[in-house]
Amino acid sequence: MEYLFSYDNWEWLWTGNNFRFLLEGLLVNLQIALIAIVFSLIFGLMLALLRLSRNRFVSIVAGLWVDVWRNLPLIFIILYLALAIPGSWRDAYASAIPDFFPDAIQDELVLGALIGLVLYNSAVLCEIMRSGIQSLDRGQREAAASLGLTYFQQMRFVILPQGLRRMVPSTVSQLITLNKDTTLISIIAIQEVVSAGSTLASVNFGVEVRPAYLQVFIVVGLLFIAVNLALSRLSRRLEIRERERTGTTVEPVKGLEDQVAVQAAVIPPNR
């Protein structure tokens, strides 16, 4: 306790550029999360549509694909891709990435991390979206079909707007998990906030105030808690407004780490 609260062990936080260094690391995490979120949502929706395809072969293949990727540990996928991605892909990535991203994201190693995050999260998001679409009453599609809408029009104008809206809370809680999971890429030596924290806590040369490991990572943890709490508050507000407007409830999704957050959010804090 004495160690935890002693002034000497916290002094690094307001000395020099230490805190700024951590924030810059966190920014890398958030940018990688953002890129992964965009691609995961796109691929997740595509996979969900394939899984719901009326062609049995297509839906079975898509189902197998999704079940494999969402049942493997993400850190496993990232470590495997770090070895397995061909060098030519990495070179292509390094030359294709726009210059305005920070150096850490220009690193060719980031490609494997991004593909891993997208493979895993698009599979989980596919399940979320599929269950949202399937929770719709059959009559919706039948009504749309009887109005003469084609399959594409039914999806575009009737099914997806309602189905996806129902799944906003589950989706946001999965995106929070994704945000936390960006720390895993420190294991393949990408310069983000965990690597920044380790660097800080191990520098020894010419500094008068040596950062303490425990305190550095408590600060890193608090930064994540702040970002994720803001996200979940936002999602909760969205969800309550949505429920008031449409009177729909949330369907549980199997295999989602944070689905309990969604179920709990449905229940008022004081019954």
């Binding site: 936390k180 943890g221 309990v260």
Partner: protein, 219 residues
């Protein structure tokens, strides 16, 4: 393909011991998570605002911190602070405390799903609040959250790989696969680790589907 099979038969001991370590990490962490999670859930539904707040802070803290950061705090941070915590204790405690937040939320939603009339009836029969909770509400709440517990165990199996891959380096399935890969320079080692993880997660899925049809209450 025969190369991949040779890799499995020649290193079967390593893969099997890795699988066993993974299962042990998950088992110990699950016990910690259930005990702590039930306590936190009890705090969150207790008829006291202060206790509710304490439970809420626990849940929000451990649900929003990355597991890797929690493990680094518990292992390296605590060690540097002068407390010689072992890798096993840090790993299972980290995974257990992290999952406890999710279990607490699941149980809380389960408790609220049990009709309000149940606890009122129990109280009016003269049971004390803790007794009514233990005898009437909790048994029903546990049955409601069986599917969620299944999801959480699968998430724990996947998260246990973080315990092995982070600086703790417990010799779990992923760690063993990496050792085999670096010794033989064959990436197929990862294929067999994937098979091991899928074996566990598929088994858990099947077992919980069975439990669900037998015991679960659909509300």
């Amino acid at each position: 393909m025969s190369d991949a099979l040779d890799l499995l038969t020649e290193n079967f001991g390593a893969f099997a011991s890795g699988l066993w370590v993974t299962l042990r990490i998950v088992g110990v962490a699950f016990v910690i998570a259930m005990v702590v999670g039930t306590a936190v859930a009890a705090f969150r539904v207790a008829p006291s605002k202060a206790l509710n707040r304490v439970g809420g802070i626990y849940v929000e803290t451990f649900r929003n911190i990355p597991l890797l950061v929690l493990l680094l705090i518990l292992f390296i941070g605590v060690r540097r602070a002068g407390l010689p915590i072992s890798a096993w204790v840090a790993g299972t405690l980290g995974l257990g405390l992290y999952t406890a937040a999710y279990i607490a939320e699941a149980l809380r939603s389960g408790v609220f799903a049990v009709g309000k009339g149940q606890i009122e009836a129990a109280l009016s029969l003269g049971l004390t609040y803790p007794r009514a909770m233990r005898r009437v509400v909790l048994p029903q709440a546990f049955r409601t959250v069986i599917p969620t517990l299944g999801s959480l165990i699968i998430a724990m199996v996947k998260n246990s790989a973080i315990v092995g891959a982070s600086l703790l380096a417990l010799p779990d399935l992923l760690k063993e696969a990496r050792v085999v890969q670096s010794e033989t320079a064959q990436t197929e080692a990862f294929l067999w680790a994937a098979a091991g993880y899928l074996l566990i997660t598929v088994t858990v899925t099947v077992v919980f589907r069975h439990l669900e049809t037998r015991y679960a209450v659909r509300r």
